[in-house]
């Protein structure tokens, strides 16, 4: 539906598996204050902007200069439909936070993620994609760390997403819990009507 990183799990870096249990028992969450919870375990991003730059990747978090054709090419590459440009622009204009990765040599957009919401309480993350040729390099995590940090900085404490079954394992180490307290994701289905 909206979140898929094709082949991501197949190319999971070994270091991911060495991370200690990221979330203590649920009971402790009552006492844990969200604002003290750093976005990453170490308090720093897994790869810095400089690290990425030196490898030819530029992180952008503004929709200025985003090339919709290149973005559509990326969507098509991961199996999303190509979106009508007017509608895509409108969607980006009403997106609270977004991130795209510019690959300097090719000039392509090779990563993208965005979040919508009310900018106060809730945010939903959509369209998290990495060009299959660049998967396995930790770029999905790079994007998510920054997107979440931006949302947290804006004071948004409820960050949710809808994960396809094959990427639930990608989001868990980032701090996402599925069906917390029995909450279920639901979507309107015209077929059911």
């Amino acid at each position: 539906m909206m979140l898929s990183i094709n082949g991501w799990l197949n190319l999971f870096q070994p270091i991911q598996l060495q991370l200690p249990l990221l979330y203590p028992s649920l009971a402790s969450y009552h006492h844990e204050s969200r604002q003290n919870h750093s976005v990453t375990e170490s308090g720093m991003f897994s790869q810095s902007d400089d690290d990425l730059n030196s490898r030819g990747f530029e992180i952008h978090m503004s929709r200025d200069d985003i090339n919709l054709d290149k973005l559509n090419s990326l969507f098509v590459m991961v199996g999303f439909p190509r979106r009508e440009k007017g509608k895509l622009l409108r969607a980006l204009e009403h997106t609270v936070s977004l991130l795209w990765i510019h690959e300097k040599k090719s000039g392509s957009i090779i990563g993208f993620a965005r979040a919508t919401g009310d900018s106060i309480f809730n945010a939903i993350i959509w369209d998290v994609v990495v060009d299959p040729s660049y998967q396995g390099l930790g770029l999905g995590k790079v994007m998510m760390e920054r997107l979440i940090a931006d949302l947290v900085k804006r004071g948004i404490s409820n960050i949710a997403l809808y994960a396809e079954p094959n990427v639930v394992g990608f989001y868990q180490p980032l701090g996402f819990i599925s069906d917390p307290d029995g909450i279920r994701a639901m979507a309107y289905s015209r077929r059911r009507r």
Binding site: G117, N158, G175, Y188
Partner: protein, 254 residues
């Protein structure tokens, strides 16, 4: 009108679309006083509130799972420009009743966002939801793509011949949706005053919202449902874990 003073005009499950400042309601009466119908339409014309700017009213209660950070600003993003065509005011009279004393009661659905923050706070108290700073609630409402409300309108009979008694309006239900105005929408904070639950008002609220969203060409309508209301939404056409997709939350607070 004395002959119909005890009749209830029940319009559920038929929803009647009313345009702008005039009501052109066609409703199926369970009453045999068909001639009264037209006088009711006239009465409704008189009492429906004027269309107001979508952006001036705010106030929306947020989900139980939203928390607060001390540093969070009450930022309001750019005004919600409904880039679609001209906004048609969608007001639907869901229930109409005449009490024995002649008081006219109506429950009206509106998607125009006219929700008072303080009325909403009272409503949330009634359902047991925690309070949130009104300024934040106001901002969250303003930043929502759609704010739907249920109001109970009560017009007592006129005591002074020509002058109609003032109409009282009370917020009894609400729901809102955030969206990117193009592809996805997520419904939050659906609530109905416990006194008015069990009448199908929650269903009507969500159904109208979905209808409006579909009319605005938002193809993906989603929500997160507490375990005890999953069946409620199933009955409205929502599917849980569609294609195995799981809802996930970042370090949720319980």
């Amino acid at each position: 009108m004395a002959c119909c003073s005890t009749v209830s005009f029940l319009m559920v499950p038929h929803y009647y679309w009313c345009s702008s400042s005039r009501l052109t309601c066609n409703f199926a009466c369970s009453s045999y006083c068909s001639s009264v119908a037209s006088s009711f339409v006239n009465a409704l014309n008189a009492v429906v509130p004027e269309k107001q700017d979508l952006r001036t009213k705010a106030g929306l209660w947020d989900s139980i799972r939203s928390g607060l950070l001390k540093t969070s600003p009450t930022a309001v993003t750019e005004p919600e420009i409904k880039d679609d065509e001209i906004e048609l005011e969608d007001e639907v009279v869901l229930v109409e009743k005449v009490q024995t004393d002649g008081t006219i009661e109506k429950i009206i659905f509106a998607s125009s966002g006219e929700v008072d923050v303080y009325e909403l706070e009272l409503l949330c108290d009634k359902v047991g939801w925690p309070r949130r700073p009104p300024s934040k609630v106001a901002a969250a409402l303003k930043n929502s793509y759609m704010v739907a409300s249920l109001h109970l309108h009560r017009q007592p009979p006129s005591t002074d011949g020509d002058i109609p008694a003032p109409e009282k309006r009370e917020l009894i239900g609400m729901a809102r949706a955030t969206s990117d105005h193009a592809f996805n929408a997520t419904i939050w904070d659906v609530l109905v005053d416990p006194l008015y639950q069990g009448q199908g008002l929650g269903k009507a609220l969500v159904e109208q919202m979905v209808r409006t969203l579909l009319r605005r060409d938002i193809g993906n309508i989603t929500l997160f449902a507490d375990a005890q209301v999953v069946d409620f939404y199933r009955g409205l056409g929502f599917e849980s874990d569609p294609e195995g997709i799981k809802g996930m939350f970042w370090y949720p607070r319980y």
